[in-house]
């Protein structure tokens, strides 16, 4: 874990209607799929930095795909090439991709698909076949890019404009055996999708919570689990579905 400054290489809108932004930062930033950074491109306001998952990284750059929701993400979306930005991380545990896995399912909903691109790349690198299933309201984000690294890719949209009309649960295979399943999306979606898979399959869910320190010190980002309250930033963000007591 480090707290250091990188330079903004590029900021672009991926989907203006849903306020989805792709930020590329130059610099050597470590991290595994499912881990995240706290981002800060301002001094005292907003008070806290913003936790954003790793969307992609290479030796000399790191990318974050995020939805503009409030003051912090709005400021991040307004950055220009060459602007300095401070990154604290990599934080959290990330998605475990075991070399012994042969077939896995990677399933996302909305902006929850952000960390899954780097996960799909990691699966490919480890020769793990990863089928990608994603659900969106009206249209997907960076679909071609995801399609390229996934073994197969299926999409559902609530509007029916792309792929099958409906929720992501409707495009999941009925009888395919997976060695593991990875989920990131709204809690209700993860809860419903997790229920589709038998108890014998490890299902990893990536959780989200309002966060302050990001390093496990303040115990402010806890979720309910069968082992009591656990910190999303340090014990997670990735948990086994049987451990999580979903709010949704």
């Amino acid at each position: 874990m480090n707290y250091k400054t990188g330079l903004v290489k590029d900021v672009k809108w991926v989907n203006e209607k849903d306020h989805i932004c792709l930020l590329t930062v130059s610099g050597d930033f470590a991290g595994d799929a499912g881990q995240f950074y706290l981002l800060r491109a301002w001094e005292e306001e907003p008070f806290l930095s913003r936790p954003i998952s790793i969307h992609d990284r290479e030796d000399d750059l790191i990318r974050f795909l995020f939805q503009v929701k409030g003051r912090g993400t709005a400021l991040l979306s307004q950055l220009k090439e060459g602007d300095p930005i401070r990154l604290l991380g990599p934080l959290g545990n990330g998605f475990p991709v075991k070399e012994t896995y042969r077939n896995v399912a990677v399933i996302g909903g909305g902006i929850g698909t952000a960390p899954l691109y780097y996960l799909l790349k990691e699966c490919k690198r480890k020769n793990v076949r990863a089928d990608y299933y994603a659900g969106f309201k009206t249209e997907p984000y960076l679909w071609e890019q995801y399609e390229k690294v996934a073994e197969s890719a299926l999409i559902a949209t609530e509007s029916g404009a792309f792929g099958k009309k409906g929720f992501v649960t409707e495009i999941l295979p009925q009888e395919k055996d997976y060695d593991a399943v990875y989920l990131c999306g709204p809690e209700i979606m993860m809860k419903n999708v997790a229920a589709v898979f038998s108890d014998s399959v490890p299902v990893y869910v990536s959780m989200e919570k309002r966060m302050a320190c990001g390093i496990g010190a303040c115990i402010g980002c806890t979720i309910k689990t069968v082992n009591g309250y656990q910190r999303v930033c340090k014990d997670g963000p990735v948990f086994l579905r049987e451990d999580v007591i979903f709010d949704a």
Binding site: M1, N2, Y3, E44, E45, P46, F47, L48, S49, L88, K209, R210, M211, A212, C213, G214, I215, G216, A217, C218, I219, G220, C221, T222, K224, G228, Y229, K234
Partner: protein, 301 residues
């Protein structure tokens, strides 16, 4: 490190006046991954209670302009588990360990203190902002006479110096400080968080399950500074200043208002290297301003 930064707090020497505040500095190890925390004057443990506490449900942290509301609810493993799993490592750092102790009843405070008596902890910070089960959840730190009783009994039991951490929600902060001093407090630290709240207007519900939460951050600094100033004018025991400190300049203000030392709280979330940077910048400020010891500026206002 500059000798003039040294502080004597209840007979314990701190190499500088910068302390990582309880609840924001974990058990030290979280920040140890980022910088050498032995640069700190002292570090305070997360608030402990006799028994393990699960903490509060729902949202626990909520950013506001100039600060942060929190409703963690003292989640902690309990004093025994802390002593077993965290304390030795904390004591091994080349800085002073302060253990922050809370309680839901007088008995809990006293039993916690008895356990800490048997350890090598040099200093205890007594958190009297905890809800008192007997008085319907009103914190021990609101009414001076309630706080007086707790501190008096705690002093009878504790073999370690007690820094009593005051709540700014006290009915009268100066009267509270005087009562705690009279009860035997070796030092006072102030302020803990202000009672605040926030509402989700779309859901038409409070943000926090507990409705109210503790407010901290730069927004409270002027009030905290005023309270430290007024308290230090009234008491003779050392005062540790806390409240919205995010720079060496802020820390110097508290010292000029009479603080022996300062605690850095939610500022650690704004800048995870803040503790270290404040120590460095304090030293720099002293050199630039020809101040050879903090004693020269302490309480000059």
């Amino acid at each position: 490190m500059h000798k003039g930064l040294e502080v004597n707090l209840c007979g314990v020497t701190l190499k500088n006046p910068v302390i990582g505040a309880s609840g924001t500095f974990g058990y030290g190890k979280e920040y140890e991954e980022l910088y050498d925390i032995s640069v700190m004057g002292a570090i305070c443990s997360k608030g402990l209670t006799l028994h393990k506490k699960e903490g509060n449900s729902g949202i626990r942290t909520y950013e506001t302009k100039g600060g942060l509301l929190n409703s963690v609810g003292l989640q902690n493993p309990g004093v025994d588990a802390f002593i077993e799993t965290e304390l030795d490592r904390m004591l091994s750092y080349d800085t002073v360990t302060i253990v922050n102790l809370g309680g839901g009843s007088l008995e809990e405070y006293l039993m916690g203190l008895e356990k800490l008596n048997k350890t090598k902890v040099p200093l205890i910070e007594l958190n009297i902002s905890c809800p008192n089960v007997k008085s319907g959840g009103m914190a021990f730190g609101i009414k001076s006479e309630v706080a007086y009783e707790v501190v008096k009994e705690a002093k009878k039991v504790s073999k370690k110096p007690l820094i009593v951490k005051l709540s700014p929600n006290a009915e009268d902060i100066v009267d509270m400080a005087l009562s705690c001093e009279k009860a035997g407090a070796d030092a006072l630290s102030l302020v803990n968080t202000f009672k605040g709240m926030a509402i989700d207007i779309q859901k038409r519900k409070p943000i926090f399950d507990n409705v109210t939460a503790g407010f901290s951050g730069p927004a409270i600094k002027p009030i905290a500074l005023r309270m430290v100033y007024e308290v230090k004018k009234a008491v003779s025991v050392p005062v540790v200043g806390i409240g919205g400190i995010v720079s060496a300049e802020d820390a110097i203000e508290f010292i000029m208002a009479g603080a022996e030392a300062v605690e850095i709280g939610s500022g650690n979330f704004m800048n995870p290297l803040l503790g270290k940077e404040i120590v460095e910048n304090l030293e720099k400020w002293m050199n630039e301003n020809g101040v050879s010891s903090l004693r020269e500026i302490r309480g000059i206002i």
